[in-house]
Structures are given as C-alpha cells and as structure tokens.
C-alpha cells in the first residue's frame, strides 16, 4: 500500500512555515501565535486533503455567495485598522475575508471554467464578471493588494483553462487603457504609493520611507546576510510592517542573497509541484483548482518580494506562509491541502502494461 500523497509539496510548505516562524522570532513578533495559526492551517490542510475536492464543484454558487456576503459584511460590521476596513470578528477571532476570498475565487472560477472545454467570449466575459464583484468590494476596503491578487488569479486561471490569446490580449489592452484612468479610481494613499514607487526620492520621510527602509534592509544583507537574529534594520524596527508586508526584507537582511535565492527557490519548487498536480489531475476542475492555487501563490510571491526589493509598487500583500497572519496562513495551507486532495485523486491505471524494464531503468537513471 503506497501513500498517494505528493510528499514534496507539504515538505516545501513546512520549510516555508519554519522560515516564517524564524523570521517572526528574530523580529520580536508574536511567533507563538503564528505557530498556532500554522497548526490550525495544518489541520485545514489535512481536512482539505481528505475531502474530495469534486464535491466542491456543485457548491461553487453557494461559495460565491458566501464570499460576497463576507466582503459586504466587512463594510457593514468590519473593524478598521491602518485606515482600511478589513477585519471581521468571528467568534472572537479576527477574520480577514479578503484573504479567504482568494481561495474562494479559485474554487468558484475553477467550477465556472470547467463547464466548457473551450473558452468562448461569452464564458470569458462571464468569468471576468464573476471576479469583478469581489474585486470591486475589496478595492473599496481599500485593499489594492488583494484586488491585484484576485485579478491576477482570474487571468492565470483563464490562461490555464485555455483562453484564446485574443481574449487575454483584450484584457491586457483594457488594462493599458485603464492606466490613465486608474489614478482617479485609486484612493489618495494608493495613488501616492504608485507615485512614490515611480520616484522614491519624492518623499523619503513619508511614503517613500517604507520603500527605502526595505531596500536598505535587503541591500545591507549582502551575500550571506548578517546572520539570524543579527539583523539591524528588522530587529531595531526600522523596517516598517517587518513581519507582514516587509517580512522578506527582514528575512533577507539576516540571510542575505544566498538565503533570498534559497527561499525563492523553495517557492519555485512549490509552484512547480502545484503545476505537476495540475498536470496529473483526474479532471478539468482539479486541474484548474491546482492552476488557480498556483496563480494565487505566484502572484503573491512576485508582488511581495518585488515590492520588498523595489521592483514593484507597494501593495499590502503577504508573503505566503512567511508573513504573520492567521487568515492568510490558514487560507494558504487550506489551498495547498485542496491541491493535495486533487493529487491523491489523480488518475491511475490499475492494469497498465508494464513498461519494458530496461527502458524504465534507463529513464529512471536519466531522471536521477
């Protein structure tokens, strides 16, 4: 009896979670609480793995409704912090629906896109319509980062689902057209962030401070870093949001270029594992689920690390499994568990011709 699990995927996730707790510990954050979140996330992972993902498909409309209700509830009864209304209090625990909405959108879109093998224009616009409502609700929280994630996840899933180049091109064109209009739609501070990103010297003390301090922290790590617990910027509190948005800067200061490359490599391997699951998924729904989680993780890693190293404008996006936060950690682990659920239900052929042993050996040697 062989366990059908993808064993590398949870190992990579566990590695990331350990790095996250280490960074939390070095920054003097509440690392014990993060361990609790990880434990809860692990439970969600196991539950999702056991759960047959195929049962989710008929639940998609209900899940979509839940997502919209939660996002609306944030506006009505949510708690505000740092100028944004993002939290709900559920049984005394703070819940960030926008984090949960990332996974819910993946499920809903996967279910929606599974209906047709080919993406028609109608189906395409329908998918865009599905994402537009939650994206708009998140944007007005305001939470530019999650909005970007939702849109990017939708685009990625459409791509994997086989959207035509013309369709994707139309979205990109619309985006290019929207850029001049965008500043008017953004909140003051969001617009400011974009402006500061384009010219960080504009305001080195105010909005540019975060960007500058993060760059300083990352850059001063050098090749091998200052060593764990020997960071200056992160530990002394110069890096703002040093355990959430700018956790990568805190990490990179201590572990340097080498640590940064290793961390990104771990993320890369994890992402490839997710695509591998997509490739062996027993059905289109499973493939799109894995592809959606892949897109969700990829866009968060790229945007978070990108803004930490001054490559992308600042948007409040956590680094999956590294940043402090209950909703994000549990959501990410549940998403990975769902992918595992697809993995364990992969197609398998019980009575398949055995390949020629010699050839198999050669192939295995070549792989090794």
């Amino acid at each position: 009896m062989i366990l059908r699990l993808d064993r590398r995927q949870p190992m990579l996730a566990a590695l990331l979670a350990v790095v996250g707790v280490m960074t939390m510990f070095s920054a003097g954050a509440d690392w014990l609480r993060q361990i609790v979140w990880i434990a809860l996330g692990a439970a969600a992972y196991v539950a999702a793995t056991i759960y047959d993902y195929r049962r989710l498909r008929p639940l998609a409309p209900a899940l979509y409704a839940v997502m919209l209700v939660l996002l609306l509830a944030v506006h009505l009864v949510g708690h505000a912090a740092l100028g944004a209304r993002r939290w709900l209090s559920v049984a005394g625990f703070p819940l960030e629906p926008s984090e949960l909405s990332k996974l819910l959108l993946v499920i809903v879109l996967a279910a929606y896109l599974t209906r047709d093998e080919r993406i028609t224009w109608r189906g395409f616009t329908g998918a865009l319509g599905l994402v537009a409502a939650p994206a708009a609700l998140v944007l007005v929280q305001p939470d530019l980062g999650t909005t970007i994630v939702l849109l990017a996840v939708a685009l990625g899933m459409l791509f994997i689902a086989g959207a035509r180049p013309a369709q994707l091109g139309a979205v990109v064109t619309a985006g290019v057209v929207a850029i001049p209009i965008l500043p008017h739609l953004l909140h003051g501070y969001q617009r400011r962030r974009l402006e500061i990103f384009l010219d960080p010297t504009q305001d080195p003390l105010g909005a540019g401070y975060n960007l500058l301090q993060a760059r300083i922290a990352v850059g001063s790590g050098g090749l091998f870093g200052r060593g764990w617990l020997h960071g200056l910027q992160g530990q002394l509190g110069f890096v703002p949001e040093r355990t959430t948005d700018f956790v990568f800067a805190t990490y990179a200061e201590q572990f340097g270029l080498l640590g940064g490359v290793l961390l990104l490599a771990v993320f890369g391997l994890l992402l490839l594992r997710l695509l591998r699951t997509a490739s062996v998924a027993p059905d289109r729904f499973g493939e799109l689920l894995a592809g959606g989680v892949f897109a969700m993780v990829l866009v968060q890693v790229v945007e978070n690390v990108g803004m930490n190293i001054g490559l992308l404008p600042i948007a409040g996006i956590p680094l999956p499994l590294i940043s402090y936060g209950g909703s994000a950690t549990i959501t990410t682990l549940a998403a990975l568990g769902l992918v595992q659920s697809v993995m364990v239900r992969r197609r398998h052929v019980v009575f398949q011709e055995r390949p020629i042993p010699l050839l198999g050996t050669i192939r295995r040697r070549a792989q090794a």
Binding site: Q213, I216, I309, V344
Partner: protein, 619 residues
C-alpha cells in the same frame, strides 16, 4: 463524506503527466518571474549592497557628539563671571521621521509646521541631527518627552548655554558666544569645529576660544527605530574647557562701571569708557565701556527686534569703546610733547616759556584755552595749567617726526596685544599718512601737505592723533612706572580641568620710552602739580576724601574738524600713589565738554573705591 480510498494506491501506476503547452508556459512564467526577482535581489545585494549597508549603519548607529562644557571665566579672586546653565533643544534626525510627526511637534512646541518643514527640507544630510527649536520651556520639554516613544527620529538634546553675571558690567570684557557662522566655520573647520557648534564671538570668549572650548567627545549609539538607545558601541568622553582667571577685580569693575555711569548721568552724557591697569604688571584690573548690553540675550537666542535695536542705537552699545573707540587724546598727550622736548634737549625742566593767549604761526592764529596770558612757566607748571601755547612752542621746536617717534614709544598708534578681538590701534599721523589721505590728484596740493599748524596742534594731542582708552591707560602706566610700556593683559592664569596651570600671565615690556629717568620724573612732577593745585582738580580729591597722591592729567579733545567751538571729548588719566604707583587709569567721556569736571571726578571716584577696598583688591 470523506473517502479514504484515494489516499492510498493499491496497485497500478500513475499515468505520465499531461504537460499541456499552457502548463509548460505557466511553469516557464513562474521560473522566469522568480528569476527576475533573484536578479534584482542580487543587484541590490551585490551592486548597491555596500552603499545600502552604510545607510543601514547610519540608520541604526547614531553618532552623537558629547558637548564639552565650556570653560568658566573667573575674576582674579575666583568669582565666577559666567555659568553654564542647562537648556533643552528639540532635535530630530530627519531620515528617521514620518512626515506626520511635524504636525504633532508643531502643536507640542508651538513652532509653525511650515517653518519646521522648511528646516527639514533644507537639511543637507537626512541622517545628521537637526535642531528644530532651542531653549524649550519646562512644559514643552515634558510634553515632548512624554510623546517620544511615538515620535521616531525625535529626541531632546540637553546642552549648556552661557549665562553671564552682570552682563552690563562685564559684557564688553567677556563678550558672548553664538552659533558658528559660515565664514568662521571655513576658517575653523581644520580645528574640528562642527557646523552647529557655538563659538566665542567677541570679548574674552572669542580671545580665549582655544582654551575655553574644550574638546567634544562622541559616542556611537545603537538605536532602534524609535530613537531609543539600545547599546553604546564606543565612546570618547569630552574634555571640558579650561578655567580662565581674569586679572579683572569684579568689585573694582563694578565700582568703575558705577562711577562712570554716575559721572555720565551727572553731566547728561551717554557714553564713556574707563580702563584701570596695574602699572607694574600691565594687568587690567577693570575695563568698562558704557553703554553696555545684555550679552545673555545673545546666548539665549536674540530676537531680531532686540538685535536691530542694539545695532541702530545711536550710542552704539555693541562698541567696546575701551579697546575700539578711537578719539583724539587732547591735552593728555602733552606728557609726550614734554618728554620729547626734554629728552631732545629743546627745553630743560627749568626752561621758562611764555604762555600767551594765542600764538601766530605764519599768519595762522593758534589759541590757548585761556584768553589771557598765564605768563612764563616751566614744563611742570605748563602741564599743571595745561598751557596750549607752551606746548605749541615745544612741538615746533621738536618737530613732527620726533614727536611721532615719542608718541609711538609711549604706545600710541599700536593695537595692544590683549586677549580680545577687535582692538583698534588709534593713529599717530605723519607726513606720508596725511598725503595718502588725499586722493591721488590732490596728493601734492598744499591742503594735503603736512604744515606747521599740523605739527603745532600735534603737540597738544590734536592734529590727526587718535588713541583709545586702553592705549591711554597703558600710556599713563608707562609714565607711572618710569617709561616702560607694558603689554596689557586680561588673563591672570588658565587652568585645565585637572587644575594644572596652562597659562600664566607674565609682565612683558613691549617698549621703553627713550628718555632719562630725570626727564620722566620732570613730566611726572607736572602731573602731580596738576592734581595738587589749589583750584579745580584738587577739589574733587578733597571732596572725595582721597589724598591727592599721584599724578594726573585732564584733556578736552576737539574732534570733527578744525576751527573753534568744535565738539569735544573729555579725558582723564591718572596714576597713584606718586612714589610707588600701583594703579593707573584712564577715563573717557564721549562728548564731554569739561574734562576737569566731567572726567576727573569719575577717576577720583574709582580711586576712592580702590583705596577703601585695598585689602580685598590686593589681598
């Protein structure tokens, strides 16, 4: 609901993965994006790394200057004349601040936000500390201190400011300190001065800057983002400045100022000066210039209104007349003419010359102060009666070149090497000087050439002669001590923090008058007669109950051109006791009309205090 079956594989093998083109491009995209991230990360770490690491150090390692306490200035008996009092400044490190903090600071200390923002924007180095407000009140200090944990980049710096004792009395001697100005910084940068340092501006504070300054220490502190010190990495303690003991006697200085002020008030005058010197050592016991000004205004941050008031005051309170006021000496110069006449053999102590009401030189009339003849007299009586026409004749006999030589020998026309900046030399005129005063085209006109009249008026301290109250005091000290021109000094000794003597004043003879002891005695005799004649001057001594034991000379010097009825300054120079002089002084009353009644009583008053307090002044 759950199906455990799929978790386990009971047999068979997984099919080969179906890597569709889309999945392969998604993988390529992921690898590519992560590659871009790694590339940028490497650029940050490798290319910009050193520079960013330096910024990181600047971020968290704060280099603080530990200000050295400036040396204290004492009078000759050890009474402190200045104190270092604590002051709190609001200081920020702009790079460590959030832009929202300025608004809060503004409400806490009451400085407009725009003013602070302008200062922050003008800062050259965002990591260097910048003072936004000096001299916080206790309430402001408390208010800011309370909020400090929430104000990263803000801290309160304590430093000492100079508070002067009796600034109106000692101000001109002590001077004041102020923030270093750009040109000064350029000059002093080599000595390690920092842009925000305070430096002595005038007076002893400036003259002894190198002793008083001390050397600042420093500390490298590791701070967190809130500016709290986590760890002191390295430290070099400051060395306080040296203690300076002046030759000034604080009590005599106060008495001199009081006498001068009373004398000026009595005659409705507004400005004057007096210098008291020990004729044996050159030590300055008192130096007063009136009006004075409040030097504490400067160290506590003077307002523009106060400053322009001081600058535009017609009585020029900022001018230290004792060293920088240049005036014609008038009749007080006659001892020079007498010395020259005697030493050059033109007259003897017994030579009798007439003292007519005027002298006719080449058709020009030169008046005596009296409109009647005082008859024939010797040089002593001529000094005592201050006969102008007597000295016209002597000056004519000696000649202007020789007269200038004796004037210079007595220290006229030299800026005294005293421990103060801004000492003026006065002026001993000569022929070339006079011609150079005219523009080039007129150089050889008659008006520009030295004429007989210039020589004659030179003999009574007019002509173009200028002197200062300090020069006068040194001059009368030379007459007192038998012809030794001493280097005047304000500093008795300087001690470092350990009490070791760094500097001790020494008596330096800068010049010796080329005259025999007998001739100088003859001149001194005239000065003794002047204060002992049964009229005018002697009255003040009798009235004050001071024995007229010494020698003095008054002078009422005309200024502002030539002719009759010109405005005058009043002078009185004096030394005592006659046999063994231990004090000599000069009194100057600006726009004084009658030196005998305006300047002389001030000198007698000072003398009275000196005699009455001999025990404390000369313990």
């Amino acid at each position: 609901m759950t199906s455990w079956g799929p978790l386990f594989q009971l047999g068979g093998v997984a099919p080969r993965p179906r890597w569709s083109l889309r999945l392969v491009s998604a993988a390529a995209l992921a690898v590519g994006l992560i590659g871009v991230l790694i590339f940028q990360l490497a650029r940050l770490d490798v290319t910009d790394g050193p520079q960013l690491a330096a910024l990181a150090r600047a971020n968290s390692i704060r280099h603080v200057v530990l200000e050295a306490d400036r040396g204290i200035i004492y009078d000759r008996h050890g009474a402190p004349l200045v104190a270092n009092s604590p002051e709190w400044n609001l200081t920020v490190i702009p790079a460590g601040m959030r832009s929202s903090e300025l608004a809060e600071l503004s409400s806490l200390v009451g400085v407009p936000e725009q003013t602070m923002a302008a200062q922050v924007l003008a800062a050259r180095d965002g990591y260097a500390s910048l003072t936004l407000k000096t001299n916080l009140t206790e309430a402001e200090e408390l208010a800011v201190s309370e909020r400090l944990p929430d104000l990263p980049g803000v801290y309160i710096a304590q430093h000492a400011i100079r508070t002067y004792v009796d600034p109106l009395v000692f101000g001109h001697v002590l001077g004041y300190v102020g923030p270093i100005a750009a040109p000064e910084l350029k000059r002093l940068e080599a000595e390690g001065y920092q842009p925000n340092e305070t430096v002595g501006k005038v007076g002893v504070e400036a003259g002894l800057e190198s002793f008083l300054r001390g050397s600042d220490g420093w500390a490298d502190e590791e701070v967190d983002a809130r500016g709290q010190v986590v760890n002191v990495i390295a430290m070099h303690p400051p060395t306080p400045g040296d203690a300076v003991f002046l030759t000034i006697d604080a009590a005599l200085q106060r008495a001199t100022a009081a006498s001068l002020a009373a004398g000026l008030a009595r005659d409705g005058k507004t400005a004057g000066a007096s210098v008291v010197v020990d004729p044996r050592t050159g030590e300055v016991l008192a130096m007063v210039s009136l009006p004075g000004y409040d030097t504490n205004l400067f160290t506590h941050g003077i307002s523009q209104a106060d400053y322009s008031r001081l600058l535009n005051d017609p009585n020029k309170p900022l001018l230290n007349r004792a060293i920088a006021g240049q005036y014609a000496p008038g009749s007080t110069f006659k001892m020079v003419t007498a010395t020259a006449g005697l030493q050059e053999g033109k007259i003897t102590a017994q030579t009798l010359l007439n003292c007519p009401p005027y002298l006719d030189v080449n058709g020009w009339i030169y008046h005596n102060w009296a409109s009647y003849s005082l008859g024939y007299m010797n040089v002593a009586k001529a000094l005592a009666t201050s006969c102008d026409t007597f000295f016209y004749q002597v000056a004519a006999m000696v000649g202007d070149v020789t007269l200038a030589k004796y004037a210079r020998a007595y220290g006229f026309g030299t800026a005294k090497d005293i421990e103060l900046p801004g000492v003026m030399p006065g002026l001993v005129p000569d022929r070339i000087w006079k011609q150079l005063q005219c523009g080039v085209p007129d150089l050889n006109s008659d008006a520009c050439r030295w004429n007989e009249g210039d020589t004659i008026t030179f003999g009574i301290g007019q002509s173009y002669l200028l002197t200062t109250p300090l020069n006068q005091a040194v001059y009368v000290a030379a007459l007192a001590n038998g012809g030794h021109v001493l280097k005047p000094t304000l500093v008795a000794s300087v001690h470092d923090i350990a009490g070791r003597s760094v500097l001790k004043s020494q008596t330096v003879v800068t010049d010796t008058v080329p005259a025999s002891a007998a001739n100088i005695m003859a001149v001194r005799e005239g000065m003794r007669e002047e204060i002992n004649r049964p009229y005018n001057m002697n009255y003040w001594f009798r009235a004050a109950g001071v024995p007229a034991d010494g020698g003095g000379k008054t002078g009422t010097a005309q200024w502002g051109g030539s002719g009759l009825d010109l405005p005058t300054h009043a002078w009185f120079v004096f030394f005592a006791p006659y046999a063994q002089p231990e004090i000599s002084l000069s009194v100057f009353v600006e726009r004084g009309e009658l030196s005998e009644v305006e300047a002389a009583p001030i000198g007698v008053d000072i003398m009275k205090f000196y005699r009455a307090n001999l025990g404390t002044i000369r313990p």
